[in-house]
């Protein structure tokens, strides 16, 4: 186990599109990050699923690397971040937010598969590094950030929150 007090920095920053797809058969949602000049809108079969394009938003991906020890944490599996406004006692994220109290903001790290059928989500090392990184940037002593993986949400499809994404960008003018 590392004893380094990590000084995380953003590395490997990539601009692209977050593409959201839905399966017409099972209603699952999936997402992927594309660095193509135009967001792909193709429909295709994948096993039992038939994925159809739902929406896309300009997005950014990055990894974290410690300036002190050189340890790198890949955040490839993270598709975005969502500020949680959930306060549901049945939801672990809602409980974390309620227990944390005033001044603490819970952000959910969103992975590609809303069903979590494969049991995978943003890694523990990833959310830990994200939490450390964002808290290290903050200068407001009354503010604290907690990043949690979306697998902790009761249902990420219905969880209350504000996704950080450039949706509706053409509407701003």
């Amino acid at each position: 186990m590392s004893t380094c007090r990590h000084q995380w920095a953003m590395v490997n920053v990539r601009n692209g599109y977050l593409v959201i797809e839905g399966c017409a058969k099972c209603k699952a949602r999936s997402s992927f990050f594309s660095t193509e000049p135009i967001a792909p809108v193709d429909n295709y079969h994948e096993g039992e699923h038939f994925w159809s394009y739902l929406s896309s938003a300009q997005a950014v991906k990055f990894d974290l690397k410690c300036d002190e020890c050189g340890e790198a944490v890949s955040l490839d599996e993270m598709m975005g971040l969502m500020l949680s406004t959930c306060r549901e006692p049945e939801c672990e994220v809602g409980r974390i937010a309620t227990d944390a109290g005033r001044g603490t903001w819970v952000y959910v790290a969103l992975c590609a598969d809303s069903t979590h059928a494969g049991g995978k989500c943003v890694s523990e090392a990833g959310v830990k590094a994200l939490t450390e990184y964002f808290n290290a940037q903050i200068k407001d002593q009354d503010k604290r950030i907690i990043v949690v993986p979306c697998i902790k949400c009761n249902s990420i499809d219905t969880c209350e929150g504000i996704v950080i994404a450039d949706t509706g960008l053409t509407d701003i003018y």
Binding site: V13, V60, L83, W105, F134, Q137, I138, I162, I164, Y173
Partner: protein, 109 residues
């Protein structure tokens, strides 16, 4: 320079109650994904974007205050979220470039 001092010098009216932080820089962007990777703590954010997602991003990187240019005013739920986060919201009638020049004239570097 404090947020309140800047507001006075630039002739800005606040939309909400805010923490009067010391502004340490300026970031201009209309993309929330860009704000996460580019804006620094205690910076002043200048933008056209009025979506709630903007506040979620600004809060994550500890932005001190936001100026919406070209007279754009956010919805009340956006203002409420910013107030909860202590982020000052202001509206400027000028376009982004002209407002950037105003910031320079206030002495903000």
């Amino acid at each position: 320079m404090k947020v309140s001092e800047l507001a006075e010098k630039a002739g800005l009216n606040s939309l909400n109650n805010f923490k009067d932080k010391n502004i340490e820089g300026v970031y201009i962007s209309d993309m929330v994904s860009d704000i996460i990777t580019g804006a620094k703590a205690n910076s002043l954010l200048v933008t056209l974007q009025t979506h709630k997602s903007l506040i979620a991003a600004a809060n994550l990187v500890d932005v001190a205050a936001i100026v919406f240019v070209r007279g754009k005013k956010p919805a009340q739920d956006v203002i409420d979220l910013a107030s909860k986060a202590g982020i000052g919201l202001f509206v400027a009638d000028k376009d982004t470039w002209t407002f950037a020049m105003t910031l320079r004239d206030t002495g903000l570097k």
